[in-house]
Assembly symmetry: C2
Homo-oligomer: 153 residues x 2
DNA sequence: CCAATTTAGATGCATTTGCATCTACCGTCG
DNA sequence: CGACGGTAGATGCAAATGCATCTAAATTGG
């Protein structure tokens, strides 16, 4: 193992992750404290957002769970809360008696759009001045590649 | 280059952040579920790690709070737990009667190293196969630049 | 076809988290 | 100096989270 010389692959990977993670923390901290998340926690918004992006409009609970950093039980209760607030609707999955399908209600879609607009402005104000468009594209490419690589295993 | 027309700057920034965030979620999910975090939650490890990287060995509570995605009160109690477990020690800040200095105990340093070794291996196994060394360096550069840009305001 | 295993989601319960607030201390300005 | 606004942490309390477990339904293997 190299000491002092060129950086070891293990160390490089660790530092890469460290940078990615700290950047995420720094951005998220700013976003969270903004006014966009007065009405909804970030995780709750994230669920609405994921549902809004889904082509069919319906998602299984376990599919949702792949996108969000929450345990299965926490997501279950989070969706329960959203349902109580009238932002999502559930129905039993037709093909699988164990499963639950979730979809945005009109009110949920409305709130997602409202928060989303503000959220996107906040993001733009943070990321826009930090990186050139070319750098943003490259960052997007690299993080997409990283995520794709994890999924394939 | 881009397939469908030009992308608006706002949209590009939003998609960049989205990719970064999802990649972080995907990696973190894998890391959390590994055996490295049986003994300590990720946030708790993060505090030990941050303390281990600190040159003086001592850090103020509010300095710690900049690195971790936790509210002030949650961090205060997290440190309280770590102290109860004998992993960190506190002392009043000499120059500021309001402040608290925190440092690793020997046991805390030991545990940080132990978890850290495993953690770094896990990271390497996830990031190493996903991106070339040059890509990792570029990703590190971009995320560092992003974080630096946020700090300066 | 039925028993055994696996998977999806819900639930009891203890822990963790955040908001609001409180106390103690710092720095400033009269 | 002494009041006053601001900052560093701690704390009460309600809400959110995760672990372990449970139920029900699907899948597998005989």
């Amino acid at each position: 193992m190299a000491a002092g010389g060129p950086e070891s692959p293990v160390r490089l990977a660790a530092e890469t992750w460290e940078s990615l993670f700290r950047a995420q923390v720094a951005v998220m901290r700013k976003l969270q404290s903004g006014p966009a998340f007065r009405k909804l926690a970030v995780n709750e918004y994230d669920v609405l957002f994921t549902l809004s992006r889904c082509p069919s409009g319906w998602l299984r609970l376990n599919e949702l769970n792949d996108n969000v950093l929450l345990s299965q039980s926490s997501l279950s209760r989070l969706v329960e809360r959203l349902e109580k607030r009238g932002l999502v609707a559930r129905m039993p999955a037709p093909e699988d008696g164990r499963g639950i399908l979730i979809q945005l209600t009109d009110e949920g879609r409305e709130l997602q759009k409202e928060i989303g607009r503000e959220h996107v402005r906040d993001i733009s104000a943070l990321v826009g001045p930090a990186l050139t468009p070319a750098e943003q594209k490259e960052l997007r490419r690299l993080t997409d590649k990283l995520r794709d690589s994890l999924g394939k295993r």
